[in-house]
Symmetry: C2
């Protein structure tokens, strides 16, 4: 039996990421005991029913008592309030981490509440599905995905190393990055793409001359890949955009500029510009497949491989 | 042994769709003989090597001789020239069809060349992968996907019925639609989403402060689903945008409008508007899964199901 990385882990918030962490920690024998808390009584009840967490508590404060790792798995906009709530119950020497998609805002919101002697090591696993809630988790979610650690000034190297060991034990590759760079990288690779996907799906839903049923029936022609992204949790994403406002708006501005240039090429019939652009973007896709972050299977987004 | 739907089918152009049609026709015993032609000598050589087509011909005219079905599988912009090229060799009573993603332009480009007594029944299978070329095809590509028939004025009902039987035999569901409505529906479900995906991938590639390797490593956060779309064949897509210009630009105009509204909501911190919008788009995704056009497997676009 492998020695656990932490004696007791508290998961605050029991959605997709927390529930996947629970199953991944169990798979790897990474935690002695795992406590959990969710704001909604229904989620706590579901968690108890499916055996999610060794002990589901009736308050966040109760869940963190005696925990040497506390993981904040709530929407980014709720992190500050949760930190304030649990602060008096944190064990001296404990590590607090989070899984939020935005890091500068979380650091600014959480840090002021934490007592001396508690280590704060923000983190962000780059993994997800379109599903949410306590029943959506599975142990393999983080396998071969990246988890980014974003140590703050004065983060204890030993606390960072232990958290790295936990993420690696859950199957993830780990990188370290500073908060502002993280927020810019994620604006490009995640936040702007999500807003664009939401927008495209919203446009299709708005049109009167193309019916909903047509959009749905004929979605395999490309639209479908947008709807998968645009089905992600609304509360989580509202908070992401509100808290990574500047970087997201900057990337969207660049995006609009490029889109206008391509629209002009279409309008003026500049086929060469279009062809050159589309050839260049194809190379990026090859890079992603070579980096093992997707497969080249010709399923065009369908589950189950070659259907 | 099932009676073939056609005695001889000629495939002009040997890319992803044509090669998948060949394997699907073989699987279903739908054609007596299948001839093929590709403009590039290399593609013809590859086709011979892998057994794609019963007979690979050295000219399009030779391939269509004696064929009761001719399928134009070339980029939309090349359809007119190919039709002119094969017209003198078409068998009286033959049906000519195509698989182009735009229908009004193809009808206008092809119809004038076809001799009397030849039936033209345009079609468009809504299926694809990010791969192209003669080696990219597979028999299952059209299974449970839609193929749209777009009969022109005076299309012979019997010719339409036979072509429907072929597509159904290849596993597709078949609908009929008029050309202008087709081009609008596809602008929404396919053409605009593709241009948007190309643009987003192009933006990421342009940025200096976020390196290519970061974009590639961290693509699982959402960006990856765009790159799959943006890896599609550049020539095919250049032609789509140039020939479905008006509908595509109209949808892109609507898209930009909505995107600006959401950007304003982010800038002003209007969380309620964002949350409402994201909740609405989630419902469309459920519709697509219920319609069997995608699975709910939590693989977030990864092949091979739950990894």
């Amino acid at each position: 039996m492998r020695t656990p990385v932490y004696n007791r882990v508290a998961l605050i918030g029991l959605g997709l990421i927390a529930s996947s962490m629970f199953w991944a920690m169990k798979r790897g024998g990474l935690a002695g005991e795992v406590t959990g808390y969710a704001k909604s009584a229904e989620s706590r009840e579901t968690a108890r029913r499916i055996g999610l967490c060794d002990r589901v508590c009736e308050s966040a404060a109760e869940a963190v008592e005696g925990a040497d790792l506390v993981v904040l798995c709530v929407p980014v906009g709720a992190m500050g309030a949760v930190a304030a709530d649990i602060a008096p119950s944190l064990m001296p020497g404990a590590t607090v981490t989070d899984v939020g998609s935005v890091k500068r805002h979380v650091i600014d919101a959480v840090t002021p509440h934490l007592p001396d002697g508690v280590h704060f090591v923000p983190a962000h696993p780059l993994a997800g599905t379109e599903h949410s809630g306590p029943e959506s988790g599975f142990a393999e979610l983080f396998d071969n995905r990246w988890s980014l650690l974003v140590p703050v000034e004065g983060s204890d190297p030993e606390a960072v190393a232990k958290l790295r060991a936990l993420w690696e034990g859950m199957g993830a590759n780990v990188d370290e990055m500073d908060a502002d760079h993280h927020d810019l990288v994620l604006a490009v690779t995640s936040h702007a793409p999500h807003l664009i996907a939401y927008t495209m799906v919203g446009v299709a839903d708005d049109l009167r001359r193309v019916t909903d049923s047509e959009v749905i029936k004929y979605s395999a022609a490309g639209f479908r890949d947008f709807t998968r992204i645009a089905a992600s949790d609304p509360t989580m994403w509202r908070d992401v955009f509100l808290t990574n406002k500047d970087a997201t708006l900057e990337i969207l501005g660049r995006f609009t500029e490029e889109l206008f240039a391509l629209q002009r090429a279409i309008r003026t019939g500049d086929g060469e510009q279009l062809h050159d652009y589309f050839t260049r973007t194809r190379a990026i896709r090859r890079g992603i497949i070579e980096a093992g972050q997707d497969t080249a299977a010709p399923n065009f987004g369908r589950g189950g491989g070659k259907e």
